[in-house]
């Protein structure tokens, strides 16, 4: 009799799990998925939305099983008065173990393979260090991101090495970001572009991003970097190429007085020690 009851519990849980998964998984994949972060501000951001949608959809049945089991246990196995007694002894069931290990192994291996494949396409907007292995083909515009307490500035080596406090990128272009720092460890996070790369002093951390149409995007530091870390944010812009060309020329003019003082463009900088600061 107890075995029959146990099988009945199992059947109920499995049926409820299947029903919930059949309903929830398509909802996650087709309704929630397109709204997952970071949006569609760049090719990499769109790929991340695709990846996040797939991964979330795959884990949805796992979450459903946990939810069903949790709710079922809370409602059905609740102690309702009377003397507390031990439950029936648990016995090993090798079928359940084999299924559990096989299915979870397959899910984990698939996600690892899927994630690796996606990363190797173009780095998925992440910093790849000074020697990237996922290099997209085609022409790329290099832009250096220089972090310092507490602001990012940007250098454009193919436009005379001009440095500006504002990040403006041409639309529909591949950008090669060289992220570095002049002081502490920061992290360059261009949220809507799907780019996140650590900014370490003495390191040239390279990330790739392919912009789409004109838009604004947020830039913020994602590494606790000191007193005003919370205020280390800014807005960037993606603009049509003609507008970008006009903007970079205007920046060259605006910062012409300081051009002679800027160091020669380099992957990283080692500023001279301050005169009096240790």
């Amino acid at each position: 009799m107890p075995e029959r009851v146990s099988e009945s519990h199992g059947r109920r849980v499995i049926v409820a799990w299947i029903v919930l998964s059949v309903v929830a998984t398509p909802l996650v994949a087709f309704v929630l998925g397109p709204h997952l972060p970071p949006g569609n501000g760049s090719a990499q951001a769109s790929e991340q939305v695709f990846d996040n949608t797939w991964i979330t959809a795959i884990v949805t049945p796992v979450v459903c099983l946990l939810v069903v089991f949790f709710v079922y246990a809370l409602t059905q196995f609740r102690h309702r008065g009377g003397a507390l007694v031990d439950g029936p002894p648990l016995r090993n069931d090798s079928r359940v173990q084999i299924w559990w290990i096989s299915v979870t192994s397959l899910v984990v291996l698939f996600l690892a393979g899927f994630g690796t494949y996606e990363l190797l396409q173009n780095g998925s907007g992440g910093g790849q260090g000074p020697d990237p292995i996922a290099i997209p083909k085609g022409h790329k515009i290099p832009v250096q991101v220089i972090a310092q307490q507490w602001q990012f500035t940007y250098r454009y080596p193919t436009y005379g090495g001009v440095e500006t406090p504002e990040l403006v990128l041409p639309a529909d272009s591949y950008i090669e970001l060289h992220v570095t720092s002049l002081d502490a460890i920061h992290s360059f996070w261009a949220y809507e572009l799907g780019v996140k790369a650590d900014a370490n002093p003495g390191v040239d951390n390279i990330a790739y991003v392919k912009t789409k149409g004109p838009r604004t995007f947020h830039v913020r530091c994602a590494e606790l970097c000191g007193l005003w870390h919370g205020y280390m944010f800014d807005n960037g812009r993606v603009v049509p190429m003609a507008q970008f060309t006009a903007w970079i020329k205007a920046q060259s003019r605006a910062f012409a007085p300081v051009a002679k003082y800027l160091p020669k463009y380099a992957d990283v900088y080692y500023p001279d020690p301050q005169r009096r600061a240790g």
Binding site: P165, L182, A184, D272, A277, G278
Partner: protein
């Protein structure tokens, strides 16, 4: 059962009280930056609000203004009676013209990023140093900067020469001691809460000049509370 309920209520009330206290502390920390806001007097010229903000930078704030850290480098603001205050939160009117005068009594530290040697975000992208108009300061000469990143505003502060006579040891510094005068004008826009800071790692005695007053609210940084 009743005892359990009371315990639960006690825990919830305790957590809520702790949350409120932490929230108030953080709110005070971020809006006051360690000191009460100084309301800069406003005049009206031709129907337009104009502010005359006078500040100074000193190599050592001194025991009178900062007993806990007398050797910290600091900005100070001058009130209408000519008294120097260690307050770095300044209340300014929105849509106003702000004429800034910085009296610098400190020597050179040098800029880590030479980009900040160029005055930016101020009228004409120029400043005057002792009456002379300049559109850039040699980066190694910079003593400090006054920067409001949200406004795109950066002004490098010219130094007192290392061999200048009659240098000020501790604030408040008399105007008869060696100093430089830097002037520029900028404009406030909409109301808001904007942080300002120095971009020169000027904390003498700290690793790379980044510790001490550079990481302590109320010395080389603060807020413009634009209302």
């Amino acid at each position: 059962m009743r005892a359990t309920g009371l315990k639960l209520i006690g825990v919830i009330v305790g957590l809520a009280a702790a949350g409120v206290l932490i929230g108030l502390y953080v709110a005070k920390l971020t809006t006051e930056a360690g000191s009460a806001a100084y309301t800069v007097p406003v005049t009206t010229r031709g129907g337009h609000k104009v502010v005359d903000l006078r500040i100074e930078t000193v190599a050592a704030v001194g025991p009178q203004l900062s007993p806990g850290h007398p050797d910290f480098v600091s900005y100070l603001v001058r009130d209408t009676q000519g008294k120097w205050l260690r307050r770095t939160v300044w209340r300014l009117p929105a849509d106003a013209t702000v004429h800034v005068t910085i009296y610098n009594f400190d020597g050179a530290s040098g800029l880590r990023n030479p980009l900040y040697a160029r005055p930016q975000g101020v009228d004409g992208n120029v400043m005057t140093v002792d009456g002379k108009t300049m559109d850039v300061l040699p980066p190694d000469d910079a003593s400090h900067t006054f920067a409001v990143p949200a406004y795109g505003l950066v002004v490098p502060v010219a130094p007192v020469a290392d061999d200048a006579k009659n240098q000020c040891d501790y604030a408040p510094c008399a105007m008869s001691t060696a100093h430089r005068t830097i002037q520029f004008t900028f404009h406030t826009g909409k109301p808001g809460h904007f942080r300002w800071q120095c971009f020169v790692p000027c904390a003498a005695g700290w690793i790379d000049g980044f510790g001490g007053p550079m990481q302590t609210i109320g010395y080389m940084d603060g807020f413009l509370n634009v209302v």
